[in-house]
């Protein structure tokens, strides 16, 4: 850092000696106070520049401000058009040292005019940002392809570009006692339900957590029932999805350095809604939604069904199929429950291994796991071949929900079902199912029942439920958001 003393009269880090000298002969200058106060920030740079208004000290944090930005926004105007600086900068209160300190670490450049004893600040924060790219987690065939990046400003601008409405407000807040992360609450003022908004605000204010590295942490802290395996807020990286829900009267929360955004309140059914549904024809969209929704129930039911029929109720299956099963299970050393748990765990391992690997190696893992282990295990008589089919189907089905958190949940819930099926067969399964329903019925998302529209807030919501009606029917706002406008 010290070798940067190239510019005219730069003082990188004032030597102890000089400071002592100054202390002796004159009263403490404001600049010295600032220096003292900001001494904890290691990369603060002080530059003295002689301008038309006399000596000016430029203070900025080296890692937060890019050279180019500094040159264009500060140094060039300083040398040529001093007025420009005065017009765009904000005047800072010299006595509020905390604020000054905070501005510095958020990427402001401070200018201290020695002659007039004036401190002004300019926002020169130049965050390292990547360009807007396609989404990989929620890609669609039809519809806009842009997705959020990790920059809050970019994300907000992506939303504002879609909703050109003066009523679209964003409220900025800073959370995280250690990280001081910027978040922004987005809503449309004349549509959003004020009660919901108040709940969101108070919940955010109540949060006391040191670090927010992703918005999903905030989501878990804000949810109505943090112990539930089900996500109660919608998480998306798609700006079109956000804008769809904002117009419906929901509240979106965006966070700096996080790609996804929260939408709340939401419902269980919406966990199976992809924004692409609205771009597809209603027939296709309805079919796909139906598939996703029942896929969820199938994926938690198929393998438990295998366990319970084989251990408890062989009479359910047709005779011929049963004999096939008997034959394929003849060499299997485990009881059905362990057989299913074994193969399900292998699938989990494959999935986990595949997702951590680089894409090219991941493919190999898929082939090794899927084909080699699968076929070999059946041939070795470790598992029955019918089970392989069932497990593979249910694994595929579990990927149907467009929200990844939901598909994770279905994986977890499935184990509860398998265990209860292993204990009490269909009875156990139904008990688990009753638990699932009771649990879902008790869940709330920001006070709205999670099971709406099945537990209707408004009968009209059913038009956009398991089936999506043609777009002309969907002009009204949903009951979930309890919006001011109809």
């Amino acid at each position: 850092m010290k070798n940067r003393k190239l510019v005219r009269t730069t003082i990188g880090r004032p030597s102890q000696k000089r400071e002592q000298n100054k202390m002796k002969d004159q009263p403490e200058q404001p600049i010295e106070i600032i220096k003292k106060h900001t001494s904890q920030i290691n990369d603060v740079i002080y530059k003295k520049v002689l301008t038309d208004d006399g000596l000016v000290t430029v203070i900025y944090s080296n890692s937060l401000v890019e050279k180019m930005t500094l040159q264009i926004m500060v140094l060039m105007p300083l040398a040529n058009h001093l007025n420009q600086i005065h017009q765009v900068s904000e005047i800072m209160d010299l006595s509020k040292l905390e604020e000054i300190y905070f501005k510095l670490i958020s990427g402001y450049t401070l200018l201290y005019f020695h002659q007039t004893n004036l401190l002004v600040g300019l926002d020169t924060y130049s965050a390292p940002s990547r360009t807007i790219t396609n989404t990989e987690t929620e890609s669609t065939v039809i519809g806009p392809q842009d997705s959020f990046t990790e920059s809050l400003e970019t994300n907000i601008s992506l939303v504002k570009r879609r909703i050109r409405n003066p009523m679209l407000k964003n409220e900025n807040r800073i959370i995280g006692s250690e990280t001081n992360t910027n978040i922004s609450i987005l809503y449309i003022d004349d549509i959003v339900n004020k009660e919901n908004l108040e709940t969101v605000r108070s919940r955010i204010d109540k949060i006391n957590y040191p670090a927010f590295n992703d918005i999903s942490i905030l989501k878990q802290l804000m949810e109505d029932n943090p112990y539930s395996p089900f996500p109660q807020f919608y998480l998306t990286v798609r700006p079109d999805s956000i804008s769809h829900y904002l117009i419906d009267g929901r509240i979106a929360i965006l966070m700096d350095s996080s790609q996804s955004a929260i939408i709340c309140p939401t419902s269980f059914l919406e966990m199976f809604v992809s924004i692409e549904d609205y771009y597809n024809r209603w027939t296709t969209a309805s079919l796909l939604r139906f598939l996703r929704f029942f896929g969820f129930f199938l994926t938690i039911m198929i393998t438990p069904m295998y366990v319970s029929t084989l251990t408890f109720h062989p009479e359910i299956l047709p005779y011929e199929l049963l004999l096939n099963l008997q034959e394929s299970r003849a060499k299997v050393p485990f009881p059905p429950l362990f057989e299913v748990l074994f193969i399900e765990l292998i699938i989990e391992v494959l999935r986990e291994a595949g997702s951590r690997m680089p894409a090219k190696v991941g493919q190999t893992i898929g082939i090794v796991g899927g084909i080699v282990i699968g076929t070999a295990a059946v041939e070795a008589g470790l598992i029955s071949n019918i089970l392989i089919v069932l497990v593979a189907t249910s694994a595929l089905l579990s990927f149907l929900p467009p929200i990844f958190l939901m598909s994770n949940t279905s994986r977890f819930v499935r184990y509860i079902f398998i265990l209860s099926a292993g204990m009490f067969g269909l009875m156990g399964q139904m008990l688990a199912f009753a638990w699932l329903i009771a649990h879902l019925l008790r869940l709330n998302s920001l006070g709205t029942p999670f099971m709406s529209p099945i537990i209707p807030r408004k009968a009209g919501d059913l038009k956009d439920g398991i089936f999506r009606f043609p777009i002309t029917f969907l002009r009204n706002k949903t009951g979930i958001s309890r919006s001011q406008k109809k």
Partner: protein, 359 residues
């Protein structure tokens, strides 16, 4: 949010609470209970429904006089603290026994169909835990569960298709082929199956639109009655009179008539699905019993649910003779009839008191 308000129940909540609390395990044995009528039982649920509607009216009437109190409080208000409280004790006792009776009936059925050669202690425990979980959410959670239970189990009606195909409609003739003695017997035994609508005495104060409560509850009652009617009608078509009398769990056998290509035994799926109906009925009873305990001890405590549930569990698993247990359950059924006529008595007391005050 809405949970802080006292009035919680929308109109459809009332409909399904009234409907589901009636429609539990009773229906499974209804055709057998009515079998003293022989084939003429087909339309008998209609009569039961009329009786139910007639007795529902005084309930709503007395409740509308005290729109913010449940029956336990009204008992105390009208009959004085001591008589009221002992009456309440009786009702709570009845509810507890009734709960035990429902679970033990259902578990007996499960043991014969789905879990042969297995002890049912743990399933009973799980069932009760689940029940506590539902009831802990309050009456609204119970109402929602009732609604889901209704919509999840209503497709089971489809499985009656095969029984209808095989059955013979001519069995319902001649109409009214019974005498008074047989009819009284049928009412005595069969009315039990449609008990449950009287629980409106306890959740009435939570109803949003109390003026229309009668209409909604009546709708719920008649949905149940129509389902009962379908059941008895199909049973009459499908069975011989001897079978009606002797086949326990008639509905189970009705499900057995059908088969899909990939599922051969619908009865097992049907009976295990029935757990939803059982849970919704029981949840309403447990909630009411909890309210009763609240009012007797004059404070609200979540612990009360656990106490009642524990008692129910003990009644079911304690090893005493089958006979005593059956007797005990029988007593609870008749106490249930008392609750049906109780509002009429209360209405009279209410009118007498009013006169006194006016004088």
């Amino acid at each position: 949010m809405s949970t802080n308000k006292r009035k919680l129940l929308n109109s459809y909540h009332v409909v399904f609470l009234a409907q589901s609390s009636m429609f539990g395990t009773g229906i499974l044995t209804l055709p057998q209970r009515l079998s003293s009528l022989g084939y003429s039982e087909a339309f008998f649920p209609l009569l039961l429904g009329i009786i139910a509607s007639l007795t529902l009216w005084p309930m709503i009437w007395i409740m509308s006089k005290y729109p913010n109190e449940n029956l336990f409080r009204i008992n105390e208000l009208l009959l004085g603290k001591w008589i009221g409280k002992s009456m309440n004790m009786l009702f709570i006792f009845q509810f507890t026994l009734f709960l035990a009776a429902i679970i033990s009936n259902y578990m007996q059925l499960i043991q014969t169909t789905a879990l042969p050669e297995q002890s049912t202690t743990i399933p009973v425990l799980l069932l009760i835990l689940l029940l506590i979980y539902i009831v802990n959410g309050g009456i609204k959670s119970v109402a929602r569960f009732c609604m889901m239970a209704f919509f999840l189990t209503i497709p089971l009606l489809y499985f009656l298709r095969w029984a209808i195909e095989k059955g013979d409609v001519s069995h319902i003739f001649p109409l009214f082929n019974y005498n008074l003695k047989e009819m009284v017997e049928a009412i005595r035994k069969g009315y039990l199956s449609i008990l449950g609508y009287e629980l409106i005495l306890f959740y009435y104060p939570y109803i949003l639109n109390q003026k229309k409560a009668f209409k909604h509850a009546l709708l719920g009652v008649w949905i149940s009655i129509i389902l009962c009617l379908i059941t008895t009608f199909v049973s009459v078509m499908y069975y011989s009179e001897w079978q009606l009398k002797n086949v326990e769990f008639t509905v189970l056998q009705l499900f057995k008539a059908g088969e899909l290509t990939f599922i051969e035994r619908i009865d097992i799926i049907g009976m295990t699905m029935w757990v939803f109906l059982v849970l919704s009925t029981m949840a309403a009873y447990l909630w009411s019993a909890k309210k009763g305990l609240d009012s007797i001890r004059s404070k609200k405590n979540k612990l009360h649910i656990y106490i009642i549930a524990a008692v129910v569990f003990l009644i079911i698993i304690l090893p005493y003779s089958h006979e005593i247990r059956e007797k005990l359950f029988e007593v609870s059924y008749y106490a249930g009839y008392l609750l049906i006529v109780w509002p009429i008595f209360l209405s009279i007391v209410h009118l007498l008191r009013k006169k006194k005050v006016q004088q």
